[in-house]
């Protein structure tokens, strides 16, 4: 009997992704790595939306729509963030957060 995929498995994946994202966000100093961490967190949330919608309210579509919204917004956010990071690199020459203190009040 092939093993059945339960809702709990999906949630474990989501939690692991979220934890990786949070950990990465706090520990990494490279802006690109931070961006990747943020994407991880966002996608963990998207998975949760889809899973809960699929298993708890099979007739409803709101959860799927929220996932789609999340993906679209993540794409836009990534585009903006990458643009900022490129500008930071052009002006300062690197993308290490520790050393970017010029905008400190």
């Amino acid at each position: 009997m092939e093993p059945e995929v339960h809702v709990i498995h999906y949630l474990i994946i989501g939690i692991v992704m979220m934890a990786c994202g949070i950990y990465g966000f706090f520990t990494r100093k490279n802006l690109l790595a931070l961006l990747i961490s943020v994407e991880l967190m966002l996608n963990a949330v998207n998975i949760n939306f889809a899973v809960f919608c699929r298993y708890l309210f099979p007739d409803a579509l709101e959860g799927h729509f929220f996932s789609l919204f999340g993906i679209a917004i993540a794409a836009a956010e990534t585009a903006v963030a990458i643009a900022i990071i490129i500008n930071v690199y052009r002006n300062i020459g690197h993308v290490q957060t520790d050393d970017i203190t010029d905008l400190k009040g």
Partner: protein, 629 residues
């Protein structure tokens, strides 16, 4: 709109114009602008008086009071509100004429006296402001408006007395005048507030139930208001500012100390007279006592002063005392039964304004000629300054109460009122009237006869003043001769009905004899170059002479009270409390905020990751809290 409003508008416009644009004008243009506007005011005041006093009397034989203008200025909730308006009744119309007339004379005179002075335009601006305030005071339609203009008078007198702001004495004198009168005005303000709170209105003629509500508080309110009046009118012991205020330019002294500011207190008591008579006669009699003490004290001091303006200053204080006494001895509003003093006081106010303005302007003319206030630099000036001499003599005869001159008529009424109330006060006042004649003729002989300072006069020959200065003297002298004959009682009396002045033969003859004896004494002592009697008296009673010369140490007494008692026992502990407790507490608050900021500053690192760490921590805590609940 009634033309009477322009009486106030003209000086106000004059002040604004001269204060804002005066420095761009020439001296001549500024002086003429101020004088012309004042002339318009005087003409309008005269027209107002004519219209008012020729109006038909109503059924009681009283001239109806007019209120050409009144607006609610500040509603205070309930029925209490402060109005701004104009009230024309016999005394306010009389004061309008006196104030604007004397002010016009001073304006004209100053064209000559202040010629070439630095700040000439500023001087005229302040004169306009002062006249505006004083006119506003006399036409005030309620007691609060009176207070507002009262304080304006205080401020503008401060500016005028301190006109020579580079002289330390003038600065000190102006501050003294302002602080002393302001201190007294505190009483006035508290009185007004008590009056407004208990009677429920600021009007001069409150309703009957308001007065019933006022009840026992009315005497307190009126007594406190009188403290303000005593301060402005230089009543003992609040008189100390007036002699020092002689540091101002002499025409200013004529304006402030003859006709306007110093009679404000008398005017205030007269204005509230129906209330005093009806509800606080005991306070009114206290006013009389204060007046007697002041009149006597000032007359004594005036006998020994050597600065001619100081003599006039103390003479003014003494004469204001006469007016206060006349008001204070009233026992009813009926002029035939104890209300004579009201009319007498207003009459004396009127005549005194004219002859005292004449004396001050004459003194200014003399000072202009010899460049000094001290009597020792004068003597024998009659040969050099005939016009000043004659006009000064007229004023001296008027103040001494010689029949035919205006002062005789008004002073006789005052003495008659005093005798009707109490023979003791009557005799005291007759004696003081004699002293008045004595010190005025001492002054007259000291200036125009007596010991001449020949050396000084040969080095710098005194000259008669220009026409622009002597013309006001002559006008005022003619008025001083004329106004005594007018039927003053027809215009102003305590119940408003026409009252025929009749000279009380006994009182008049006694006072005239006393005055003649005093003048003869002064002539005997001071008219000749050698003055053995006066010198011998000064040597015989050195302590008394020195005490009188130093004004019986009243200034020192006040200094003792303020420095030793108020400063040391009240102000110093308060200052300690302020510095040590309140300031230190505030410093501690500032220091602790600063210290907290120092400690918290590193948190604001600019590192997004540390912020998010705090954010995460916050979320965890919140989640735990929510789960726990």
């Amino acid at each position: 709109m009634d033309f009477t409003l322009f009486i106030l508008a003209c000086p106000a416009v004059g002040f604004l114009l001269l204060a804002l644009a005066g420095m761009r004008m020439s001296h001549r243009a500024a002086g003429l602008t101020g004088t012309l506007l004042m002339a318009v005011t005087t003409v309008l005041s005269g027209a107002t008086a004519w219209r008012f006093f020729t109006a038909a009397r109503n059924a009681d034989g009283v001239l109806p009071a007019q209120i050409p203008f009144n607006v609610e200025w500040l509603p205070l909730g309930g029925s209490l509100h402060i109005d701004m308006g104009m009230l024309l009744d016999p005394i306010s119309v009389m004061m309008l004429v006196v104030v604007s007339g004397v002010s016009l004379m001073v304006h004209i005179y100053s064209l000559g006296y202040m010629k070439g002075e630095r700040g000439f335009q500023r001087y005229y601006a302040f004169l306009s402001l002062f006249t505006f305030s004083m006119l506003g005071l006399v036409v005030a339609a309620n007691v609060f408006q009176m207070y507002v203009f009262w304080e304006l008078v205080g401020v503008s007198s401060y500016l005028l007395i301190g006109f020579y702001y580079t002289r330390p004495e003038a600065i000190a004198a102006s501050k003294k005048a302002f602080i002393v009168t302001r201190f007294a005005d505190l009483g006035f303000l508290i009185g007004i507030l008590i009056y407004g709170y208990y009677v429920g209105t600021f009007s001069f003629s409150p309703s009957q139930e308001g007065l019933m509500r006022g009840g026992m508080m009315l005497p307190w309110a009126l007594g406190l208001m009188f403290i303000g009046g005593a301060g402005k009118s230089a009543m003992f012991p609040l008189h100390i500012w007036l002699p020092d205020a002689m540091e101002g330019p002499t025409p200013v002294s004529a304006l402030i100390h003859a006709a306007t500011m110093v009679v404000a207190g008398v005017y205030q008591v007269a204005r509230l007279f129906p209330l005093y008579i009806g509800y606080a006669p005991q306070v009114l009699h206290m006013v009389a006592v204060v007046g007697v003490v002041t009149a006597f004290y000032a007359a004594t001091v005036a006998c020994v002063q050597s600065d001619i303006k100081r003599v006039l200053a103390f003479s003014t204080i003494s004469q204001i005392g006469f007016m206060m006494v006349a008001l204070g001895v009233c026992t009813s509003v009926l002029p035939h039964e104890g209300g004579l003093g009201y009319m007498a006081s207003m009459f004396h106010l009127f005549t005194h304004a004219l002859f005292k303005a004449l004396l001050f302007l004459g003194a200014g003319s003399i000072i202009h000629a010899v460049h000094s206030n001290e009597m020792s630099t004068m003597g024998g000036l009659r040969r050099y300054m005939p016009v000043t001499h004659i006009t000064f003599l007229v004023a001296c005869l008027a103040i001494a109460g010689i029949p035919g001159f205006s002062g005789f008529f008004s002073k006789d009424e005052i003495l008659a009122a005093c005798f009707a109330y109490s023979p003791v006060i009557g005799w005291i006042m007759t004696f003081i009237a004699g002293m008045t004649a004595f010190y005025m003729f001492r002054l007259y002989y000291g200036i125009f006869w007596g010991r001449e300072n020949k050396a000084l006069h040969e080095a710098h020959r005194p000259h008669e003043s220009p026409l622009v200065m002597t013309a006001p003297l002559m006008i005022l002298a003619v008025l001083t001769l004329a106004v005594g004959w007018m039927p003053f009682g027809h215009f102003i009396s305590s119940d408003g009905e026409a009252y025929d002045i009749h000279i009380d033969a006994t009182v008049a003859s006694v006072s005239v004899i006393v005055a003649l004896i005093a003048i003869a004494l002064a002539t005997w002592m001071y008219a000749r170059p050698q003055q053995p009697v006066a010198d011998a008296l000064a040597r015989r009673f050195p302590a008394l002479h020195r005490a009188a010369y130093r004004r019986f140490y009243m200034d020192e007494a006040w200094l003792f009270v303020t420095r030793r008692i108020i400063f040391r026992c009240v102000s110093a502990p308060l200052a300690w409390w302020d510095r040590r407790v309140i300031d230190q507490f505030m410093n501690f608050m500032a220091w602790s905020a600063n210290a907290c900021a120092e400690e918290l500053q590193p948190v604001q690192s600019g590192k997004v990751q540390s912020y998010t760490l705090w954010f995460l921590g916050g979320i965890v805590v919140l989640t735990l809290v929510l789960l726990a609940c």
